[in-house]
């Protein structure tokens, strides 16, 4: 085996860079508790209308006892329900979404809210919206020929203007 001296330095540097990258990401995950949405929770997508959590009356924005906000949504071709949401800025929000039919995805610009919505599973995202304004929430996974037209509106309002 022949390994050149410069090559050896590059090998060390490569491992150093790679492990440094992993270390930074691991540190953020552990210290700031940043994890992608991963709750591994099943649901019968064909019977959402009969479920306690995802029936039509239960959808929307609610305030929990600890002051945090809970949003319950259904994704179904070709819309998100409810289509308009109002949440307070700088407040912890838990969003739970289930699909009534096929695969969907949803993200909002200028936030880290981004999740797939997989039939048979509940998606749960914990985030805090840090900017006020009206933001589109797009379906970001091909769900059929009407996919382009599937979106919702999120209004992030100052805390004092938020009412339920």
């Amino acid at each position: 085996m022949h390994i050149d001296a410069t090559e050896k330095k590059w090998i060390y540097l490569t491992f150093l860079l790679t492990f440094a990258g992993m270390g930074v990401l691991a540190a953020y995950a552990v210290m700031d508790n940043i994890h992608p949405p991963s709750n591994v929770e099943t649901v019968d997508s064909a019977a959402l209308h009969l479920s306690k959590e995802f029936n039509e009356d239960a959808l929307g924005v609610k305030r929990e006892a600890d002051g945090s906000i809970r949003v319950t949504m259904v994704a179904a071709r070709y819309g998100f329900f409810p289509q308009k949401l109002v949440v307070p800025v700088d407040t912890p929000v838990t969003i739970r979404i289930a699909s009534a039919d096929v695969l969907h995805g949803i993200h909002t610009v200028q936030s880290n809210f981004n999740t797939m919505v997989v039939p048979g599973y509940v998606s749960e995202v914990n985030t805090t919206f840090q900017k006020t304004g009206v933001f589109p929430m797009f379906c970001n996974e091909y769900c059929g020929l009407g996919h382009d037209f599937m979106w919702a509106r999120l209004s992030v309002v100052p805390k004092e203007k938020f009412k339920l």
Partner: protein, 541 residues
């Protein structure tokens, strides 16, 4: 020359299928950018658009690549081992089986009965003929895998203790990589999609289907990329005017690519709800490990180019860059390819990052990223390899070297003009896989200038794609004959006389991958059989 005759035929047959389907898919790409820009209202049609995107993706990702890689593999095996094809009938059977699968899938795609995109997306249901065609395409390609393994094995038997030629070593690594990685999509197709689309089973577990597809979805990129790396290691150094910097490091890189790239598909599922974050985190570590052989490759190839530049009289810190033989299309493509790999690779680090991915997941950024890595880095090398090999296969000299170089430059420029705006649009929130943006708000308005740039990029790329076809046909139709039809592979700076068995074979490494795959995918697949899951009925598009 005698031993080249049959690999030349097999190689050419595969190459023609690859590039003709490529040209068709490139025209679909042009339609897609025009449709999406909204400039020509007559073109607007979601049915056509999603049929087109599905066809473009399947052809580019599965047809162009598989046929090109099979053709290149047969050619490399025959010319480097100086052996005829092992079991020639079987090789042709594999070719026709792959072609049959392709034709079945193509008919369904072109008639709008398989607009489920290249990633299939159950519970959207395509025609069963599409799924069966996809299965035949994969099974046909396994014949090629067996061929490559057997040819390397026969050569080693006949040449005990000798190092396997580097190009064959890398080709066999790629064949083994493809076998392992295609098991994911093959299982989804055979055990879920086909029986479900035929009505034999009522429902499908979409979580399981997505997990199985993710098994294939990342390593397939390395299946596409390895021929490009092989050209950079085994042909480019000599054509640039020098030698390969290190043969051993090349082998180590191929083994690392093989072992590290297969069991790491979960970054495609970072925001999927049916997999736990611990597994996602472990796959992130695995994904980052692939940066190691990629950086090794970058070093060895650039060092080889420096060797060439200095041997041709280049002086000083950067003087060697000018003296490299850029006149050769393959050397030029290698340089452009590495530039695109550098930009695309940085984007890839964002996608691979456990916490940063949510900023870009399923946005147009991703489309920009994989076009830069696949259509840029890999496919530009496929073009250059065709220019290098076509004359040797057909015995007719390339019709015009300057036209070939212009085609490569246009591809490079077009790809940057197309993909850099896509990255920006992704950061501005544009979701991927949309044909129109009917949102009417400030966010959607901010995308418009980038969409215009995208159209310009698409037009440049189409011109370049058509030039490729003209050059290949022009070469094929020439009357002139080429005297020198031998392939000359690059010599290493330090000749390799003996190699440890671990760097000259794959038995041990296949066992390592098996263990690693079971560790990384075993429980995440098993969990679907342990949980109380609810399957999903088929939906039409």
């Amino acid at each position: 020359m005698q031993s080249h005759a049959d690999v030349a035929k097999l190689g050419l047959a595969n190459f023609w299928i690859a590039f003709i389907t490529f040209a068709l898919a490139a025209l679909l790409g042009l339609y897609q950018v025009l449709e999406r820009s909204g400039m020509i209202p007559q073109l607007e049609s979601v049915e056509l658009y999603f049929g087109s995107v599905s066809s473009h993706g399947v052809i580019m990702g599965f047809v162009l690549t598989t046929f090109f890689i099979m053709g290149f593999g047969y050619w490399s095996a025959g010319t480097s081992l100086k052996m005829p094809v092992w079991n020639k009938r079987l090789a042709w059977f594999g070719f026709f089986l792959t072609l049959l699968g392709t034709a079945m899938a193509a008919v369904m795609l072109f008639t709008g009965q398989a607009s489920v995109l290249y990633t299939f997306y159950p519970p959207l249901k395509a025609s069963p003929i599409f799924y069966i065609g996809a299965a035949l395409l994969v099974v046909g390609s396994w014949v090629w895998v067996l061929e490559m393994i057997m040819m390397m094995h026969k050569w080693k038997q006949a040449n005990p203790g000798q190092p396997v030629p580097l190009i064959m070593f890398g080709t066999t690594a790629n064949a083994i990589l493809w076998f392992f990685t295609s098991l994911g999509v093959a299982s989804e197709d055979l055990f879920q999609l086909i029986p479900w689309s035929l009505g034999w089973i009522e429902t499908i577990d979409v979580g399981l289907a997505r997990t199985l597809f993710s098994w294939t979805l990342h390593a397939i990129v390395y299946f596409w990329l390895i021929p490009a790396y092989l050209a950079m290691y085994t042909l480019l150094p000599r054509l640039a005017g020098g030698k390969l910097f290190s043969d051993e490091m090349a082998r180590i890189s191929f083994i690392m690519l093989l072992v590290f790239s297969v069991p790491i598909g979960f970054h495609h599922l970072y925001v999927d709800p049916m997999q736990a974050d611990g597994w996602k985190f472990l796959h992130m570590i695995g994904t980052f490990m692939v940066a190691v052989p990629t950086l090794f490759t970058g070093f060895t190839v650039i060092a080889s180019m420096e060797v060439a530049g200095r041997m041709r009289g280049g002086k000083g810190l950067f003087g060697w860059i000018k003296t490299i033989n850029w006149d050769d299309p393959l050397v030029l493509a290698g340089g452009l390819s590495l530039l695109m790999l550098t930009v695309g690779g940085w984007g890839g680090l964002v996608n691979a990052s456990y916490s940063m991915d949510v900023m870009v997941h399923n946005t147009q950024w991703i489309t920009g990223h994989f076009h830069l890595i696949f259509a840029g880095t890999s496919v530009i090398m496929y073009f250059a390899l065709a220019y290098h090999i076509w004359p040797k296969m057909t015995g007719r000299p390339l019709v015009s070297k300057s036209l070939a170089k212009a085609q490569l430059w246009l591809w490079f420029i077009g790809m940057l003009v197309l993909t850099l705006p896509w990255h920006v649009m992704g950061l501005l929130g544009q979701p991927r896989r949309i044909s129109v943006a009917p949102y009417g708000n400030e966010v959607a308005k901010s995308w418009i200038p980038y969409e215009m740039a995208m159209v310009v990029g698409g037009v440049i790329l189409t011109v370049s794609a058509l030039m490729l076809i003209v050059i290949l046909f022009g070469t094929h139709l020439r009357r002139a004959t080429l005297e020198d039809r031998e392939m000359a592979y690059a010599e290493p700076v330090e000749p390799v006389l003996r190699l440890p068995a671990l760097l000259n074979g794959f038995g041990f490494w296949a066992a390592v991958i098996t263990v690693y795959l079971i560790a990384s995918y075993g429980y995440p697949i098993l969990q679907f059989f342990l949980m109380d899951t609810h399957g999903t009925f088929p939906w039409s598009i």
